[in-house]
Symmetry: C2
Subunit: 457 residues, 2 copies
């Protein structure tokens, strides 16, 4: 009964891959939740998938399983299923998922599958395919329980029955006027607790939130979270109800966006996950991010070449370069991440910039003092007291560089936001590389000034 406790013996599964049709079919029937078949499919080579899929007798379960398989592999899998098999799958999918599946087909096959569908479904899906995948329209379902304002509870129950018979999850009944414009919603429990002759107009809740189909899916997730919704209606410019977004799709959106953010922060992308064993394909995706890093680090190198005469006079100075660049990069990343997080959650805005800047500057000065003393002291210990002046240069440049780092950490995302770009780009490699250069430059300038004023270094 506890799905999360199912223990799977990998060896048994591997043996099953080679089993005959009857054993496979029996195995598939024995697992109640399609999601629990994913591990078996992942173990088998994708060339077996089409045969396996057709051995799942329960068409409903077959369709559900497809949704849990890696979407990156849909094109390859669908290539080996014929139009009629795909059309059967589509019948058991919610319309948003059906549209996603269709989108994974090559154009000719897409047309062939659409032709194999009943006219109504065909038009619905063709309509859904027009919305961008990551928009409200792209994640909405068109099937829904919908009644007119003048209806009674019994009418609504009839609608619910129709949908439940088609295996559509019903969370609420939508109420529209004669032109299809959204007026409100009635909870299932209200239908349950009122007489079948009660007027819908007396039960309808008109204080509802809705979105337009082109709203970004991240914004949709924010609205769900803010208003604790289970479903969100999508309406056109005339407020005509087009479909609904259900909360379990929002869970997928949130995971997807978190995945994308994490991978992009490290200089790669979710696309890479499609190249399971292809080293060249993977390298190609990661390459551009590293080229950006290479260019930045060459600027650091140029700065050092510029100061080469200084280093020749005091070689010990150069040993400190990793410390100054590591520390100032770290401090800048911390500030940038907090600001970006504030922007993305709506907790901070450009109007808060003076307050944030004032605070971060003080944080930077505190860090500069603390780490300047620590690093200056440690440098003197490592290099020996003959090099105490390096310790002084380290202390001064650390104070300046860490304060500068917090300023860069605040300004980089703020400028991007001001320009209308995604402030998150400023985190990770970008700020680190920029601060590398700045840190080394400040350190070298401090050392030069020291040399000029004290005549020694």
């Amino acid at each position: 009964v506890k799905g999360n406790k199912i223990t799977v013996d990998t060896d048994e599964l591997l043996a099953l891959i080679e089993a005959d049709d009857a054993s496979l079919s029996a195995y598939f029937s024995s697992i109640p939740h399609a999601a629990d078949l994913v591990e078996f499919f992942d173990l088998a080579d994708i060339k077996y998938w089409p045969r396996f899929l057709l051995l799942i007798g329960d068409e409903e379960k077959r369709a559900e399983l497809i949704l849990h398989l890696d979407r990156a592999r849909w094109p390859e899998l669908l290539e080996h299923l014929d139009e009629l098999n795909i059309a059967t799958l589509l019948k058991h999918l919610e319309s948003d998922d059906a549209a996603d599946l269709l989108a994974a087909l090559v154009p000719e096959k897409q047309l062939a599958v659409l032709r194999a569908l009943p006219l109504e479904d065909r038009n619905q899906l063709a309509q859904l395919l027009k919305y961008p995948e990551d928009s409200a329209g792209g994640i909405m379902q068109v099937e829904r329980a919908q009644v007119r304002f003048g209806a009674v509870v019994a009418d609504a129950i009839t609608k619910v029955r129709e949908l439940v018979e088609e295996d559509v999850e019903v969370l609420a009944v939508w109420v529209v006027d004669d032109a299809g414009r959204l007026m409100g919603t009635v909870a299932l429990s209200d239908l349950l607790l009122n007489k079948s002759t009660s007027a819908i107009s007396t039960l309808v809740n008109t204080e509802i939130i809705s979105v337009k189909p082109l709203v970004d899916q991240e914004e949709v997730a924010r609205i769900f979270k803010k208003y604790d919704l289970l479903a969100l209606p999508v309406v056109d410019d005339d407020n005509v109800l087009l479909g609904r977004i259900v909360i379990d799709d929002v869970i997928d959106v949130l995971s997807e966006e978190a995945e994308e953010d994490t991978l992009q922060l490290a200089g790669t992308s979710p696309e890479e996950l499609f190249h399971e064993t292809d080293a060249l394909g993977t390298a190609r995706i990661r390459f551009p991010w590293l080229v950006a890093g290479l260019i930045c680090s060459f600027v650091s190198m140029l700065v050092l070449v510029l100061f080469q005469p200084l280093i020749e006079r005091a070689v010990a100075l150069f040993t400190f370069i990793p410390v100054i660049s590591n520390m100032s990069g770290g401090v800048a990343t911390q500030s940038a991440t907090v600001i970006i997080h504030g922007f993305s959650t709506g907790k901070a805005d450009l109007s808060d910039l003076p307050r944030i800047l004032f605070k971060e500057m003080r944080v930077g000065m505190l860090m500069g003092l603390a780490f300047g003393l620590l690093a200056g002291g440690a440098s003197t210990l490592i290099l020996g007291s003959a090099y105490y002046h390096v310790g002084v240069v380290v202390f001064v440049s650390m104070c300046v560089a860490l304060t500068a780092a917090t300023l860069l950490g605040v300004f980089a995302p703020a400028i991007l936001k001001r320009l209308g770009a995604d402030p998150a780009v400023a985190s990770g490699p970008f700020v680190t590389s920029l601060m590398d250069i700045t840190g080394i430059l400040l350190y070298m300038i401090t050392a030069t000034l020291f040399l000029r004023f004290f005549g020694t270094i």
Copy 2:
């Protein structure tokens, strides 16, 4: 009607803060969704909050608003509300939220508020307070529609009515045996579509997933996602139903965990957000992460001190240090992030290690070749052809360092996972710093070998 389109004039809101009780009360009544009052509260100083709260006539809305206010500020806010006011709030909250609110009180006040509650609520909440905040028990609600296996549809409808009257959201009816052990669930639509005399036993779906109360909330979120659930029952070791987790709480869990991950990756923590203007408090949170960075960078420095004689013979060598450390850190972070992502989404496992390692090594060698050629060429250009041997050293060390970087990027998270620690710790500053050291070391060793075999550098 479109909550996401409400445009708020900040100046008007600021003027409202100073308004009299009657105007404030009228304003609060005019906003249908409590979530839309958050911006106004955030603009006002927290010292006004208790008065504002009590001016919201609708107790339901008042309770809902509290949930949307920053939880870090609950202790300060609750300090200024008396026991009876807090007890009234609790009555309108779901039990999981009520327990969270109670947990924000100092122990004496917590006792006083509990005493002001009816006996049943008091026992329920005292029970919930025992579970860790981030466990299934910590996010479950105890209120639910529950019937015996022998009941009929009419009994279930009575239960639903009781809960709806208490403003509890009902998504399904739970079916238990005489000892309270979970047997299955009946959908609301099944109640709606069947006769009131139908036996529950004929409608119950027994293929359900459940969790124990101490399961981590991240695991709970994964189960919701995997099985597309709207609600998940929590049971004890004897399978007795304790409560249910509802999907909108899972949305909060996902956002919370994503926030935590992002901030920790940058070497800070969500705690920092409680220190809005306190630079010292903020610095204290960020400090330990930077100390770790400082220690690592000092190891890099020691490596350089070790090779100081080499640098004195060929000062130009040192200019390349930022490039090698930046590039190898970047490559290692990319590999580590992809592995960590695979582990955390369950797409990869320790058993996949040989395959992953083989692939990443090839990626590393490709990167090493490409960037070795680029960087070696560029170095020769920057330093002039007299330094072509630096270019050769750069090429060789880049090839070795970038291959080593992918290996480190794979092994660091894998070793942490093997030890039972969180592999995500390996991403960000940790891998970068470790690779800094390794990169510099490999570069210096290559240069030394070059010097030994060719007699020049």
